[in-house]
Amino acid sequence: MEPKLFVDPSISKVILLVGTIKGAFLISSDANREKWQVSGPHFPGRVVYAMAYDNRAGRQRLWASSTHFAFGPMLHSSDDFGRTWTNPESAPIKFPESAGQSVAQIWQIVPGGPLEHEKLYCGVEPAALFESKDAGSTWSLVQGLFDHPHRPRWEPGGGGLCLHTIVVNPANPQSLLVAISTGGVYRTDDGGQTWSARNSGVTAGFMPNSYPEFGQCVHKVARSAQPDRLYLQNHGGLFRSDDGGDHWQDIANGVPSDFGFPMVAHPRDPDTAYVFPLETEMRVSPHGELLVYRTRDAGASWQPLGTGFPEELSYETVLRDGMAADTLDLAGLYLGTRSGKVYGSADEGDTWRQIADGLPAVTCVKTAVL
């Protein structure tokens, strides 16, 4: 089967932006989300850790980071749904020479909130945050976080010392939350000038003090439809905050494992969130059973969702950016595995179908709703 190389927006409603260890794929469908068309590979042979869609201010722009094992990381955008991608002469995301660092990977690309149409953020390894104030034309290091006195004491996790999560606050452009492995959660309330660790209640079971100020290995944070409510998947532990990250409470109630990577919040219901629990030693779906867990009561309880997943043994891993929701009503939910499978649900997780198979290991799944 010869895949298409780009998406036709005239017949597409939802596009999955799927990054893999050997390139990116765009997988599109109409609003029914039953039949899917795979296009790609884009950036063949390169690792794609981060993708994003920016539909603010009339744009329809895809973003992707690529890293070639020899020639390093690069940031690309496409205004024609993957028909062409930018390939800038000069790397847009790079440390100033005075920083003494060089970008190894771009882990995250996130458009700013609805009140800041031109703002974009990138999180990188080694852990640092970059911002653009002109819709991605130019970028600069967020010096306030880079200069944080904790930074020299952040330690790399298994994936490297990376800033992998950026959570904008749609109600307050001055407030931004990031997560670092391993550093934990940090928040600014003054547009990035100053930052404070926001890990109160989040465990670090691998440290002598299980509740340090910082140093947690936070895997993912998701903001719910109620801006002050956040959900957090930790390296061991599920947590919720109802005050924007000031305090966190344990919500691992009824999951087979509190270890996992992704955390996805429902686009409209602040009580609903999704996780993909992993057995802690193999870091695969427990008992070889592919299951997503959903809470409808803000973490008081979690229910397994498996209808439509394979019934045979499935020792699958979903990485931190490997699960995402769309914004349609009913919300769609999608996940990509390290075995190169992509599954989707068009009914908020109740039933699932396989969308793609045979892809390289999936690193990220993001959604674009046209």
Partner: protein
């Protein structure tokens, strides 16, 4: 001098696999500076923002890897051929 480039870098040389640089370079540093000037898109692919040659990029002057010849101070004989290649890898 003559510079040979791998396929992935040819987007930044107008598709050319080999480029000629008119430059009286006597060291690798001078030769690469002239290459950046002629083809600016090559720089960030070959060196990082600290100016270090990326770990898995090899630069040969004739048949010698500059890492074995003093790095940036490696001598560039008159009429040398420079070959830039990614390290071999698998998987």
């Amino acid at each position: 001098m003559t510079v040979h480039l791998p396929g992935l870098l040819r987007d930044h040389t107008g598709g050319q696999a080999t480029v000629e640089i008119a430059c009286p370079a006597t060291t690798a540093a001078e030769a690469l500076a002239a290459l950046w000037q002629a083809y600016p898109g090559l720089r960030d692919r070959i060196v990082n923002e600290q100016g270090e040659i990326r770990q898995h990029v090899n630069i040969f002057i004739n048949e010698d890897n500059i890492r074995d010849q003093g790095g940036y101070s490696a001598p560039v004989p008159s009429g040398a051929a420079i070959t830039i290649v990614p390290a071999v890898s698998g998987g």
